[in-house]
Each structure stands twice: as structure tokens, then as C-alpha cells.
């Protein structure tokens, strides 16, 4: 049966007009077009897809940083001094359009006024931070609200459990989690760690849709263990604060260093600040005076002159120096002692703190010798703790010294140092004549020193220093019950506008225990009122700090704690005996006065 047979109406027109070639032509066009589409899809999806996917990745694949946790700062026993806790920063994109209810919910969680949030959202910025340092708990609840255009970044908040006590030592970080002061800045590169990365696909509104590939985990920052002993720091800080209070002083610093290892066990300054709340902060509070403020040290310089004299063999422990009548003129300047003395032994020059005595000894040496000695103990250059703003004080080249300058330098004027430098220099007396490099970090074992004086010289100077805290010395208030200690007072006029004013800087630097030295303690009190002698102002602080620190460290006592048993040696022979802790010749020195 042929096709024509099907037609029951023989319409010639229809047969002609609806010619089958036309419909075949049209269907061929349509099917050809559909085939072309198949070919095009094949090309796009199976041949060209790499290029297209790359373009897609460029639009919505993002590499996100995973912030590394900043390293902790610990004290020598592992107590926390600075710690990072993960927080969130909440921000909004321009897409964020919230209704009243959403604004209120967000405001409640952020503890912000909804109107304030709305104001921020309505700004013309593409990106606006709503709040930093949002707790992880609140952040999770905000995320659960699924608000459009509200995003969160991970950030850290830095917490300082010890607060103002160690503020200058530890320092703090800024909003960006980068160190700005103190150890936080000094050891930034070790604390910071390396951020990790993860790759995500984001939708156009910035929401993460999926993770791509494997993430590179962040490398957390290294923990920094400081040499600080929190207990000793506490003792030092309190003693300083009480002294500043008592003398209504402008400020002050205390440093405690272990002379065997060079570790700084405590470093306190006043005024200080709370690193956890830095909203009102003045430069004065911020300054780590112990390393940034150099001052004319005054009489704390004298033991170095005595040491030089002993070292060169020009003087002995009991060589006599005539200090009468308590006045001396060099060029046009006149030098005087606070109380006129007669003939003094070298040891007594230190004990009584005679300017005349120190000057007479100093002028017996070429200025170059003195300069070399000062330089060797570290004056004129920073100690190199790595602290920001560390200064080296002033030690002018010897070639420019005039005799009067050499004279004043012997009792600590015309030269400036920081309390850290002083403490460092005194390690030469505490050790066998060598200075030990000071360290902020906990160290392992003993450290090689930098020889300056002969060991015997140091031993004799220690005995002179011990005499200072005897009742006949300038600082009997610095004595420590139960321990033989020694040190030197400093009472320096402050330079105000290039002239010496009636303002003082009272200081005391000392060593303990004398029989087997362990610690150096330096104390500076700035502008005390109602007493300005180093022995009266800084001495008690020294006593409290040195005693507390020695007890904390469990250093065995080397003296009966009863005041009646106070014994002070005044001759080299007696000194040697005293070193061996044999009380002899205690009465001898009385006649020397």
C-alpha cells in the first residue's frame, strides 16, 4: 500500500502546496540546529572546559588565610604572661540589608545599639567592620542567624594575665596582632608564626560554599619563655610602687638579674599601665624606663674607679687618700663632699661615698684608661636585650675629656647610663671580674663572661660594697637580714635644661649574697620628695627586693639574721676571712672613720 493510497480526498492543490520537501527542509533545519547545539555543548563541556573552569575559579575561588595563633609569652616557670584567645571580627558587605528584627538580634549579640549597626550598614562602603573581638560563642550565634552579607573573620585577642606588673617587659600587640612594645615587639618574628591557607568557593555575596582541595594548616608562633620569675617580679614591682608612693616620686625602675646566667629575673617600672585596657595611655606610662631612660648615675660609679685603682695595683684596699677638707678646686669648678671627711682608706671612699676621694683616684689615671674601663663594663652602648628604644647612655670619647670632666665622671656626673646598664656592669663585681651578657629569655646553664677586672679586684670591691650597707656606710637601710649584701648608693642631681636642678635621682645597685654572689639588683627612684639620698630612698627597696628574691630562689643564708651579729670586714686579710664566712676583725674598721 503506497502513501498515495491513504488519501481519500484527491485535492490537487493540497498535494502540491503542502509538498513534503518543504516540511522535510524545515525539519532538517531544526534538527541540524539541534545537532549544532549538541556539538557546541560537547566542545564547551568536554574540550574547552579547562579554560572555562579556570575563568570560573578566578571569579569565585578564593584563598583564605587561616591566622596562626601567636606564641605565648611565659615566665621562667611556665606561668602565662601573654596568651592569645581566638575571637571573631564581624563585618558586613554592601549586600547586608537587615530588617528591624534582624538588626535587633544582631545588636543583642554584638552588644551594640541596632541603630548604630544600621548607620554603619547604610554607609556607602562596600565593607564595614561592625565589631572586633567578638567572643566565639556570640559569633556562633550570629552565624546561626544566617544574616545576608554579615561575615566573620578569625582574629585573636591578646590577654595579659599579669597585667601592669610586667607590662613593660612583655609589651603588647596592636589590633592587627602585631607586637608594638616590649618582648611582643622584640621577638615578633618568633612569636608570629605562619598563617595557613585554605581554598574555598564563594558565592557572589561572599558566603563560602565549599572547600577546595586540602588546606595548609597554620604554623603557630613559638612560645617565648622569659627569664622573668613572676614571684620576684611581684616583689620588685610592689617594693618599687611602695617607694614611689612613700616618696611621692615621679617614677622608678627595679631590675633583678641572676649573675650566674645573666637572666633578668625581674624588671619593673613605675608608672605602668594595664596592657589589657590601653584606652588611656600616656607616653610616661608606656616607657620602659629601665632601658630607655639614661641618667647621670652619681656615686654608683665610684666602685668602678676603685676597681680600676685596685686592678692597676696603684692602690690597695686600705691605701689612704686624704679627703680633707671636703672641698677641691679643679680649674674654675669646685668639688665637694656632702659631709667633709679626713683621711679615708680606699674602701672607706666607697663606704662613705667621698667625691673628693674618687676624684683624686681618678685623676691619677690617664683619661683613656678610665674610658677603656667604662667601655668594657658596657657604658656608652646598649646592653642589647632587643627591647625597642633601648639606649646606650652617654660616654664621650676620652680625647675630648677635660680634667674637670674626668673628675666628675669618677662620681657619676657627665656620663649617663640606664639602670639595666648599671646592673650589667655590676655583674663584674658579683662575678670574678667579668661581666655577663644579660638575657630576657630563660637560658640554659652558665654563660661565658667578658673579663674586665682581675678576680681578686672584684672580691675586694664586693667587700667595699658590703661596707656601704653597714651602720657606718651610706646605706644601712639596704641591709638584708640573714644575707650578707653589698651595694652602692647614688644620689644625683638631675639635669634640667642643661643645669643641675634641685631634683634628685636616688639609686642603689647591689649584690648578694657576698659570700657567693647570686643576684644583682638595681633600683632607681626618680625625683623623690622628702628625702633624696640613694641610701634612704632606694636602699630600702633594694633590701626588700634582694631579700625577697634570695628567699624565693632558696639561696642559703650566709649571716645570722640577728642585727647584733653584724660584722663587717675592713682589711684585705679580714676580707679573705669574711669570704670564708669567718667573722674576724670586726672592730678594726671603726677606728678608720
Amino acid at each position: 500500500m503506497s502513501r498515495k493510497d491513504h488519501r481519500f480526498t484527491e485535492s490537487p492543490v493540497l498535494k502540491d502546496q503542502l509538498a513534503s520537501w518543504r516540511i522535510h527542509f524545515v525539519s532538517a533545519l531544526i534538527f541540524g540546529a539541534l545537532l549544532a547545539l549538541v556539538g557546541r555543548a560537547f566542545y564547551l563541556q568536554l574540550i574547552h572546559e579547562d579554560f572555562l573552569q579556570e575563568r570560573g575559579d578566578a571569579r569565585y575561588r578564593r584563598v583564605l588565610e587561616i591566622p596562626a595563633s601567636r606564641g605565648k609569652i611565659l615566665d621562667r616557670h611556665g606561668d602565662m604572661l601573654a596568651q592569645s584567645t581566638p575571637m571573631r571580627a564581624v563585618w558586613a558587605t554592601a549586600d547586608a540589608k537587615l530588617d528591624k528584627e534582624q538588626l535587633k538580634a544582631l545588636g543583642d549579640l554584638l552588644e551594640m545599639d541596632p541603630r548604630q549597626i544600621e548607620k554603619k550598614l547604610n554607609g556607602d562602603k562596600n565593607f564595614v567592620y561592625l565589631k572586633h573581638q567578638v567572643s566565639p560563642d556570640a559569633a556562633a550565634r550570629i552565624a546561626a542567624l544566617k544574616l545576608p552579607g554579615i561575615q566573620m573573620d578569625r582574629e585573636y585577642s591578646r590577654f595579659y594575665p599579669a597585667g601592669d606588673m610586667v607590662a613593660h617587659m612583655v609589651g603588647f600587640t596592636g589590633k592587627d596582632d602585631r607586637g608594638q612594645e616590649g618582648v611582643e615587639l622584640a621577638f615578633e618574628s618568633r612569636l608570629i608564626g605562619t598563617n595557613g591557607e585554605r581554598t574555598v568557593i564563594k558565592d557572589r555575596r561572599g558566603q563560602i560554599v565549599e572547600e577546595v582541595g586540602s588546606e595548609r594548616p597554620p604554623q603557630d608562633g613559638e612560645d617565648i619563655q622569659l627569664a622573668i620569675d613572676s614571684k620576684i617580679q611581684f616583689i620588685a614591682f610592689n617594693a618599687l610602687r611602695n617607694a614611689v608612693d612613700k616618696f611621692n616620686a615621679k617614677g622608678g625602675s627595679v631590675i633583678v638579674a641572676d649573675i650566674k646566667t645573666g637572666e633578668i629575673l625581674a624588671l619593673a617600672n613605675w608608672p605602668t599601665y594595664n596592657p589589657n585596657n590601653r584606652s588611656q595611655l600616656s607616653g610616661g606610662q608606656l616607657r620602659n624606663r629601665a632601658v630607655t631612660d639614661s641618667f647621670e648615675p652619681g656615686s654608683t660609679m665610684k666602685p668602678f674607679i676603685a676597681a680600676l685603682a685596685l686592678d692597676r695595683g696603684k692602690y690597695k684596699f686600705d691605701s689612704i687618700i686624704n679627703c680633707a677638707p671636703g672641698k677641691m678646686t679643679i680649674g674654675t669648678a669646685t668639688i665637694s663632699d656632702a659631709h667633709p671627711h679626713g683621711a679615708l682608706t680606699l674602701a672607706q671612699v666607697i663606704q662613705k661615698s667621698s667625691n673628693i676621694g674618687a676624684t683624686k683616684i681618678a685623676l691619677g689615671f690617664p683619661s683613656e684608661d678610665m674610658w677603656t674601663m667604662f667601655s668594657k663594663v658596657g657604658f656608652g652602648k646598649p646592653v642589647g636585650l632587643g627591647f625597642p628604644g633601648e639606649v646606650g647612655g652617654r660616654l664621650r670619647p676620652w680625647q675630648t675629656w677635660k680634667p674637670i670632666e674626668q673628675a666628675t665622671m669618677s662620681y657619676g656626673h657627665g656620663i649617663s647610663v640606664t639602670v639595666v646598664q648599671l646592673a650589667h656592669a655590676y655583674t663584674a663585681f658579683a662575678r670574678d671580674g667579668d661581666t655577663v651578657p644579660l638575657s630576657l629569655l630563660k637560658t640554659k646553664g652558665q654563660v661565658a663572661g667578658q673579663p674586665v677586672f682581675a678576680p681578686e679586684t672584684s672580691r675586694q670591691v664586693r667587700l667595699m660594697l658590703e661596707m656601704v650597707v653597714s651602720p657606718e656606710g651610706t646605706a644601712n637601710k639596704a641591709a638584708v637580714p640573714g644575707y650578707r649584701v653589698g651595694g652602692k648608693t647614688g644620689t644625683a642631681h638631675k639635669l634640667v635644661g642643661g643645669r643641675y636642678a634641685n631634683k634628685y635621682l636616688a639609686s642603689f645597685v647591689g649584690i648578694g649574697p657576698i659570700s657567693d654572689p647570686r643576684l644583682v639588683v638595681g633600683v632607681v627612684v626618680d625625683e623623690p620628695v622628702g628625702g633624696h639620698y640613694g641610701g634612704d630612698v632606694a636602699g630600702p627597696v633594694f633590701s626588700e627586693v634582694m631579700g625577697g628574691a634570695l628567699r624565693t630562689l632558696g639561696v642559703p643564708q650566709d649571716k645570722d639574721s640577728t642585727p647584733a651579729a653584724l660584722k663587717v670586714a675592713s682589711t684585705p686579710a679580714a676580707a679573705s676571712a669574711a669570704q670564708a664566712n669567718v667573722p674576724t676583725g670586726a672592730a678594726k674598721k671603726k677606728g678608720a672613720h
Binding site: T9, Q17, S20, I30, A33, E49, R55, R59
Partner: protein
């Protein structure tokens, strides 16, 4: 009669309507609904206009489908003769609606195009209805002018005038996509109805020239042309939409990223649930998904053409031309839409028939399928010896 009996008894013609036609149409409608849902979830949820309801478009699309299928059921009851009788009036009604859209205060603007008439809860898009009306009108016109089909004046000119009227209304909206589809339907039917080949060739030439002029005159269209030629030249500007569509195809590869897994639909690809639905299909279901969709359209069109051939055998000229008109309509519109998605054709606003979101489109597609089924059913009735 004996011969007829044999046709009726042949096994493939046992059913009342062509099952493949029904199934391919239903498959397209259902895949369309699923993909509209998938493509619109994030968009609806992220937008306050849609009440942040992820099901906003799904619910609407399902309702449109229900209305469309109900309307299809009703349309199936209407004899083809009745459609033929109504066709001039439907055409005139369509023109009136197209004109109403342009009346300020009546028509509704979306993205700078005025294509919708607000009808209480839904918006009516007259250009979608017009596609069906043009099929009916052109078929009726061709049948009426069958004897003078060779005459330029009597056959071609009246239709040309009607198309100038309709075309200018459409371009005024503007709805360039609908314009192309409707012109293709009208002249496709004239061509199939036997218009002189030479005349037709001249017409096509003229149309091409007219298109060229339109494109050159209107910077908006020229921009779209440039975007299509090299979407990467200005990928974040003119080529933005197309580049994202192409990326979606590239991401899909063979099996796709999985249903629901499209990234492009997450606010990157505009009109993902309407004009660029195929891109989402390509991304989520891959080359396989695209082949299935193209294959279903191919199958549907092939079945429609089979129905039209049956009409010719049965001497049902109007029905044959209606069926062929609908085949052209679906063929042209789906080709243009898919071609646009794949960067083969310049970007213009055309939905994917049977699949994209859009009430008027789904409604009129359903009715068109119903008319096809009615034609097929009447064919089978006639071949079984009954008169309808």
C-alpha cells in the same frame, strides 16, 4: 473502508494519542520544574522581594503547571475546527493585549522591558500568548489563501502587514526574542503552505537586512552582539552573563557537579531560572543532562512533525499547518535559547519552552501541546472511521 480498517488495526495506532509526544512533553515540563527549583533556591532565599522563601519559584512554577495542565485538559476538549473559527479573533485579541501592555499605567516594567500585564496575583505576558495565536492565525490564513498562494498581493502582503503590526508592537516593548519567534512562525507557515520559493528567498534577505539595520541602529542590541562574539573581552561588563553561562557549561563536564551543586546559580549567573536555565542544567547535570534536554526537544519536534504528516495524509490542512507551526515555534525558541546559553547566538531574552520559569510561557506551551494532542486524537478518530 477496508484499507482504513487495516490502518486502525495496525498495532502502533492502538492508543488514543501519540504516547511519545505526551511523554517527551511531560518529561520536559517535569525536568523544567526540578531545574527551576534548583536554579532559584539561593536566589529566592537571598532576596527580600521573594520573602526569603527558597520555595518561592517552585511553588509558583508548580501552580502555573497545574493551571497549564488544567487549561490543556480544557483545550483538548475543543475541536480543531473551533480553533480555526476562533483564530482570527484570537489573533486580534492578541494584538489588543500587546497594545495594552504599552499603555502607560497598564503594562508592567521589569528590567527596562514592558512585557507584562498585571492580572491580580499574576502577570500576563501577551507575547507568549501571541506565539500560539500567530500559529493558529497563520495556519488559517494559509488555508484560506491556499488557491492564491502564488500571489504576492493576495497571499503575502496581508500577512506581511499583520506581521509589521505585531512586530512593531513587540519591538516597542521591547521583546526582540518573541519578535524573532513570531516572525519565524508566521513565515515558516507561509513557506510550508506553499509560498513561492523565490519570494521567500527575497523575504529572508529582506528580513536579514532589517535585522542588520535594527542591530546597527540600537546600541542596546549592538552591545549584546559584541558580548556574544567575545564574552571574555569584557567579561565583567557586557559579557558578564554569557561568560558565567559558559563557565557553568565548562564546570559541568560530562556528568555535572550534581543536582543542586551549581555555583553559578549562587547570584553569579543572572536569570538562572528563566533565560539561563540550560546553563544550570549543564553545570549540575553535565553534558549528559544537556543531551537529554536537546534529545527530548528533538523527539517532541519529531513527533509533532509525524502528527502533521498524518494530517496531510488525512487532508487536514489547517491541523497540519498548526502542528508544523508549533514545531517551528518550539524548535526555533528552544534553539535560540540554548544557542544563547552556549554563546552560539547573541544574548536576548527568550525562555526555554516547556522548562523555564514563567507563567504565561508554561500555560501557553501546555495549551499548544493540548492542541497537538487534539489534532493527533482527531487524526486517529478519523482513521478509525469516526467523524469529529
Amino acid at each position: 473502508m477496508n484499507r482504513l480498517m487495516r490502518i486502525i488495526n495496525s498495532p502502533e495506532d492502538q492508543s488514543e494519542v501519540d504516547p511519545l509526544l505526551v511523554w517527551s512533553a511531560l518529561a520536559l515540563l517535569l525536568i523544567g520544574m526540578v531545574m527551576v527549583y534548583s536554579a532559584s533556591i539561593a536566589f529566592a532565599e537571598g532576596s527580600r522581594i521573594f520573602g526569603r522563601n527558597p520555595n518561592y519559584f517552585l511553588i509558583r512554577h508548580a501552580i502555573f503547571l497545574l493551571i497549564g495542565l488544567t487549561a490543556a485538559g480544557a483545550a483538548f476538549q475543543i475541536p480543531i475546527q473551533t480553533w480555526q473559527r476562533w483564530s482570527p479573533w484570537l489573533f486580534v485579541g492578541g494584538i489588543v493585549l500587546l497594545a495594552l501592555v504599552l499603555v502607560p499605567g497598564l503594562g508592567r516594567d521589569v528590567n527596562g522591558a514592558r512585557r507584562w500585564l498585571p492580572l491580580f496575583v499574576v502577570n500576563l505576558q501577551p507575547s507568549e500568548l501571541m506565539k500560539l495565536f500567530v500559529v493558529l492565525y497563520a495556519a488559517d490564513f494559509t488555508v484560506r489563501k491556499m488557491n492564491v498562494m502564488h500571489s504576492l498581493k493576495k497571499a503575502f502582503l496581508p500577512m506581511f502587514v499583520a506581521m509589521v503590526l505585531v512586530g512593531s508592537l513587540l519591538l516597542k516593548e521591547p521583546d526582540f526574542g518573541a519578535f524573532v519567534v513570531i516572525i519565524s512562525i508566521a513565515f515558516g507557515i507561509l513557506f510550508l503552505g506553499g509560498m513561492k520559493t523565490r519570494l521567500f528567498a527575497i523575504l529572508i534577505l529582506l528580513l536579514l537586512m532589517a535585522f542588520a539595520v535594527l542591530i546597527i541602529v540600537s546600541p542596546y542590541r549592538r552591545d549584546r552582539i559584541f558580548g556574544f562574539m567575545d564574552p571574555w573581552a569584557d567579561a565583567l561588563g557586557r559579557g558578564y552573563q554569557l561568560s558565567h553561562s559558559l563557565i557553568a557549561f565548562g564546570r559541568g563536564e560530562f556528568f555535572g557537579v550534581g543536582l543542586g551543586g551549581s555555583v553559578e546559580k549562587l547570584f553569579y549567573l543572572p536569570e538562572a531560572h528563566t533565560d539561563f536555565l540550560l546553563a544550570v542544567i549543564a553545570e549540575e547535570l553535565g553534558f549528559v543532562g544537556v543531551i537529554v534536554v536537546i534529545g527530548l526537544f528533538g523527539l517532541l519536534i519529531q513527533r509533532i512533525i509525524m502528527v502533521s504528516k498524518q494530517c496531510i495524509k488525512l487532508d487536514r490542512c489547517f491541523a497540519a499547518l498548526v502542528a508544523q507551526g508549533i514545531a517551528i515555534w518550539i524548535g526555533v525558541q528552544s534553539f535560540i535559547n540554548m544557542g544563547v546559553n552556549m554563546g552560539l547566538l547573541p544574548t536576548k531574552g527568550l525562555t526555554l519552552p516547556m522548562m523555564s520559569f514563567g507563567g504565561s510561557g508554561i500555560f501557553v506551551n501546555c495549551v499548544a501541546i493540548a492542541i497537538l494532542l487534539r489534532i493527533d486524537w482527531e487524526n486517529r478518530q478519523m482513521m478509525r472511521g469516526r467523524r469529529t
